[in-house]
């Protein structure tokens, strides 16, 4: 079944440090800008919600048409945001947890400046593989 999914990682300073389109559906031309727009607009909601709970996985926080935005916030206030149209809560939570581990490995690299863009193609490949597996 074709799914649309757009995944971005936003640092604590509200700078996107990684984005990818991980869905299996065919993309329309304006779809990628639209996805980015929806995700960035949801940042305000995440900001408010993040202080109300101590959980890391905030489930679906925003909707647009039939697509849902789910967010996972780390202790360092790095936000993993996923725009998707499937309803697989457990799969999405596992996806976020695995990406969190990958993100920590990137962070442990002494040559990586925290808050800068993640340019590792290895990370990109792995995230796409995880998206295919869990979403």
């Amino acid at each position: 079944m074709a799914t649309t999914a757009c995944f971005i990682i936003v640092s604590r300073n509200d700078i996107p440090i990684y984005e990818t389109d991980a869905g299996s559906a065919t993309k329309r031309e304006d779809a990628s800008q639209m996805h980015q727009f929806i995700l960035h607009a949801a940042l305000d909601i995440v900001q408010d919600l993040a202080w109300t709970t101590s959980a890391m996985y905030l489930k679906a926080i925003d909707r647009f048409n039939d697509m849902v935005v789910s967010v996972y916030v780390t202790a360092g206030h790095t936000r993993f945001m996923l725009l998707h149209d499937s309803r697989n809560d457990d799969g999405i939570k596992s996806f976020f947890q695995e990406v969190h581990e990958l993100y920590i490995k990137i962070l442990l690299n002494p040559l990586y400046l925290p808050g800068s863009r993640i340019t590792s193609s290895h990370f990109d490949t792995k995230v796409r593989a995880l998206a295919r597996k869990y979403l």
Binding site: S54, A75, G76, L107, P114
Partner: protein, 178 residues
């Protein structure tokens, strides 16, 4: 992410880091050496705090973050918790560690005596260089958890035990804007 390194390796690395920065790179300017060492500690603290908070719920206020530093973070780094936490409720915390692991194998040098400065304060100055790295680690960890702060450390002086640094409690004081 679970590989281990022997503790003597860590001790040697830390000793050599302080020695290189103080005697080689910034031999004329100990303040710059201290700041570089603290900056290394900042990045390490940033990375470690992200790693050690992975499996636990996030923090809802400053006190929880400080308690995490005193208990879980300190246990991961030094295999023990902070012995005493004091606060003045106006933005200053003092963490006291009675047996700081990284200083436990350092001994004073009784032969140092050039007359201009008493050996006690010279030794204290030398010892303080070793404390910049843990200060940086604490500052990096707290900054990552959302608390920009300034951390300083000192070893309290007890007149009874002059060259026995092992028995001196080490106090880290954290100051942040409230």
């Amino acid at each position: 992410m679970g590989r281990e390194v022997s503790e003597s390796c860590i001790d040697s690395l830390l000793t050599e880091m302080v020695a290189s920065y103080c005697n080689q790179f910034y031999s004329n300017t100990p303040e710059l050496a201290a700041r570089r060492i603290e900056a290394i500690g900042y990045q390490v603290g940033h990375q470690l705090s992200e790693r050690y908070t992975m499996d636990r719920p996030r923090f809802t206020d400053h006190l929880e973050a400080i308690k995490f530093i005193c208990k879980d973070f300190w246990s991961e780094l030094f295999k023990k918790q902070i012995d005493n936490l004091k606060t003045n409720h106006r933005g200053t915390f003092v963490l006291q560690d009675n047996k700081f692991r990284w200083l436990s194998r350092i001994s004073g040098d009784p032969s140092v005596d050039n007359g201009t400065q008493d050996p006690e304060s010279k030794a204290a100055q030398a010892m303080s260089m070793y404390l910049y790295f843990p200060c940086g680690i604490i500052r990096g960890a707290l900054s990552n958890l959302g608390i920009p702060c300034a951390v300083s450390a000192d070893i309290s002086s007890l007149p009874a035990c002059e060259y026995n640094w092992i028995l001196r409690p080490c106090c880290f004081s954290i100051k942040y804007a409230f």
